[in-house]
């Protein structure tokens, strides 16, 4: 089927808001290149459980494309129209299963050496629509806090090496109220600037219930049952003929919270789906808590664009044979405190990069803190770069400097 052949009934499998949106944009969709239409529908199909910034971005794109004269739109999208698709990809029902279609498209782009041209086309398009519809500035400057938990320890490791040139390294953090001070600030921000998924807390172990009461929260421990069910499915696939990474990806993408008997609570569907996506789309999020925190934070910043993000790393399990870890039967496995510290240090760097990609980056504040080593790094507009604090600081003092 080509986009020109699209009819309202083709969106029958979409949830209510997504269906309504797609049908309302049908005249536009019918004029788009197939590859681009599938890309757009991949986003729009899950509209009902997207975070508000994602919904806004989808609507902005429809608005932007509609505003362009046809010839200008065709010029902007000609790179997508030029993609040569194999017949096998064309046979995939791309309206009902846009993700499966895009997986096939990706494989085809690589094998036919079209991937670089495709990337260029995507960059050109993203640049044009973001110029027309700039991302909205945050209500208050964003704050990201990364805590390397008390059990993460590796003597002699140079913490925050990749971040030092961007802020102030605090070689000695004093006081025993660091976590409670951070939690109080996050709670205060959540209460002062309420927003759906605007304040998030991701924990690699067990979440602090006092913070979880005020922030949208996910934790590695709380998702244990979901992770175990997913690992069971993965293990079953490993013993199935014709399985492979692509088949696994397709299967994982089809998993719903309902199929995992994951109960919904009112108003949290977008966040429940987000957590499932972290576990079904992220490599390693099911087996390493450090990977879970890093990937969840990356996706949270990209998708929810929170005003406040608190991430706390906990020790991950020791590395074992991958098949063994994917079996999910490693509960007694020891943890790796040193390796986890290295993972979390890199995770802090990536969280800072991801925060820098968002609107208002120049005003954003960032703090990473190792509880075991009592060191921290502060980055923000009020903080000098490439500096080492000359005296010990408390958490209160560090947050005051960031403000």
């Amino acid at each position: 089927m080509t986009p020109a052949q699209l009819r309202p009934e083709d969106f029958a499998s979409y949830p209510a808001q997504a269906r309504s949106l797609a049908v309302s944009q049908l005249p536009l969709l019918q004029t788009l290149p197939l590859v681009f239409a599938a890309l757009l529908l991949r986003e729009a199909r899950d509209f009902d459980w997207r975070f508000p910034p994602e919904q806004q971005a989808i609507e902005d794109q429809f608005s932007f494309l509609s505003s362009l004269p046809l010839s200008q739109r065709e010029t902007l999208l000609r790179g997508f129209a030029a993609v040569q698709l194999p017949e096998s990809a064309r046979r995939i029902p791309w309206v009902a299963q846009p993700q499966q279609f895009l997986d096939a498209l990706t494989a085809a782009l690589w094998s036919t050496h079209q991937i670089d041209g495709f990337r260029q086309s995507a960059k050109l398009y993203a640049s044009a629509w973001r110029q027309a519809h700039p991302e909205p500035q945050p209500a208050v400057p964003r704050l990201t806090v990364v805590v390397l938990g008390a059990d993460l320890k590796l003597d002699g490791y140079p913490l925050f090496r990749k971040l030092r040139s961007h802020g102030v390294l605090v070689p000695q953090v004093t006081g025993d109220d660091g976590w409670s001070t951070l939690a109080a600030l996050a709670q205060k921000r959540a209460q002062s600037h309420p927003a759906t998924a605007g304040h998030l807390y991701i924990d690699g172990g067990e979440a602090d219930s006092s913070l979880a009461a005020h922030l949208a929260t996910t934790s590695y421990l709380a998702l244990a049952s979901v992770r175990e069910q997913l690992l069971e499915r993965i293990s079953a696939m490993l013993t199935t003929a014709n399985s492979g990474p692509e088949q696994l990806r397709t299967t994982m993408a089809q998993i719903t919270p309902q199929s995992l008997h994951w109960p919904a609570t009112s108003g949290d569907e977008a966040f429940r789906r987000f957590q499932l996506d972290v576990l079904t789309e992220g490599s390693g999020t099911q087996i390493f808590s450090t990977t879970f925190v890093q990937w969840a934070a990356r996706e949270a910043l990209r998708r929810a664009q929170p005003l406040t993000l608190v991430m706390r790393f906990a020790p991950r399990q020791h590395s074992l044979n991958m098949n063994e870890m994917l079996s999910g039967k490693t509960q007694g496995n020891a943890t790796d405190p040193g390796g986890s510290l290295v993972d979390a240090d890199m995770g802090a760097f990536y969280a800072w990069i991801d925060q820098q990609r968002l609107a208002g980056a120049e005003q954003s504040a960032f703090l990473a803190w190792s509880q075991a080593h009592q060191q921290a790094i502060l980055i923000g507009p009020a903080v000098p770069r490439n500096t080492v604090a000359g005296a010990p600081m408390t958490m209160h003092q560090m947050l005051a400097q960031l403000a």
């Binding site: 993965i234 492979g244 390493f288 044979n321």
Partner: protein, 385 residues
């Protein structure tokens, strides 16, 4: 790929790599050696052997040749590089999947098959060119590779080449899995460790791979010796090097290809494990070079070529997740390096001009004296001495 932006980015990667090395005082003598004469075939020693070491699981500058990364590759930097010619800009324009990319390295042509399919390369491998042109026996070309997928890498299904003309393939993990006693399997799990993607892909093994029954007849090892020694090792790559050493002792293949794969654990997102893999590969490269220097059949007449199959994604490409994957196709993921050591190699030479990973096969052909008519690359004359 042809656009100026990518070329500029790739050059930037290469120049940065060169600057790092110069800053470390490692390339000071290279300036007079930056231009080279043509191949002087007459000076090449007879009976030349070639050992190729690839990193199946890209390694980035950040964790290798960048200032902060050099601590991870002390052997490459301090021991091997001063003896090597170094290509700072090896571009892989093909599919960035480990099996298909390694197959492309081995054929000198960008293969386009599904990375996760048990498929032989479409183009003749360097092993087939070598054996067919020089009438070499099957025992003279071997591949030691990670277990899953790589079992078909020894020979293509290309017309005029193919079955019977390729290399023997040893999959050490597969061999160990077959050899280890059932009641002691837990003792060996660290040696059977795969990367995050491989467990999903477990093809039936068929083709030219090495069977357990050949352990004694070819490697002169009993099952007990093999499993006993394996217990003293810490990773799958160490097992590969151990098996490669046995091959060198028993068969002395003239063309030996070793693929190290531990670092591809990066796909699990654990940065510490990825760096551990790089450090192990660094140590093993030095160990392989030491073996070459001490084995009489190899000493003084062996060229070693070391190269990653490709890089990994940049920290700053929004389409990726940094070190974890190689999915963006950005300059960092496509651009890597190559080191060449051995008799006739111009020690300390730094070559900045962009070359392609498909140039490897024609280079091996020029080193060993055979042609590679279907390869897409060109021989790298600078290493031909």
């Amino acid at each position: 790929m042809q656009h100026a932006g990518f070329r500029a980015a790739a050059q930037q990667v290469a120049f940065r790599r060169r600057d790092f090395l110069r800053a470390a005082g490692l390339m000071g003598a290279s300036a007079p050696l930056l231009s080279f004469g043509p191949l002087r075939a007459a000076t090449r020693p007879r009976g030349r052997r070639v050992v190729v070491v690839t990193f199946g699981g890209g390694a980035r500058d950040e964790e290798t040749f960048a200032p902060d990364g050099q601590e991870n590759i002390p052997h490459l930097i301090s021991t091997l590089l001063p003896q090597a010619a170094f290509y700072s800009q090896v571009v892989n324009r093909g599919i960035l999947g480990h099996y298909v990319a390694t197959a492309s390295l081995a054929t000198g042509a960008y293969e386009t098959f599904d990375n996760f399919a048990a498929t032989p390369p479409a183009n003749p491998t360097v092993f087939e060119y070598y054996r067919k042109a020089l009438h070499r026996p099957a025992t003279d070309a071997w591949v030691v590779a990670p277990s899953n997928g790589f079992n078909r890498i020894g020979e293509s299904d290309a017309r005029g080449y193919g079955p019977g003309l390729g290399a023997g393939v040893i999959l050490p993990k597969h061999l160990l899995a077959a050899a280890m006693p059932q009641h002691r399997q837990s003792d060996f799990t660290h040696l059977l460790r795969d990367n995050y993607e491989d467990p999903y892909y477990t093809p039936d093994l068929h083709g030219g791979q090495f069977e357990l029954t050949q352990l004694d007849s070819i490697l002169r090892l009993s099952v007990n010796e093999f499993t006993g020694h394996a217990l003293s090792l810490s990773s799958a790559d160490e097992l590969s090097v151990y098996v490669a050493h046995q091959l060198m002792r028993q068969l002395s293949p003239s063309l030996l290809w070793i693929t190290l794969h531990d670092m591809d654990v990066a796909h699990s997102g654990a940065y510490s494990l990825y760096v551990d893999g790089i450090r192990r590969s660094d140590r093993l490269c030095a160990e392989i070079w030491k073996i070459i220097q001490t084995e009489p059949e190899y000493a003084g007449r062996t060229t070693m070529l070391v190269l990653p199959d490709f890089g990994r994604d940049s920290d700053f490409d929004s389409g990726g997740n940094g070190f974890q994957h190689h999915r963006t196709g950005d300059a960092l993921s496509r651009t890597t390096w190559m080191m060449a050591l051995g008799p006739g190699i111009r020690q300390g030479a730094m070559i900045d001009r962009p070359v392609q990973s498909t140039d490897l096969v024609p280079t091996i052909g020029a080193l060993m004296g055979f042609t590679t008519p279907l390869a897409q690359g060109r021989a790298l004359t600078e290493v031909l001495g």
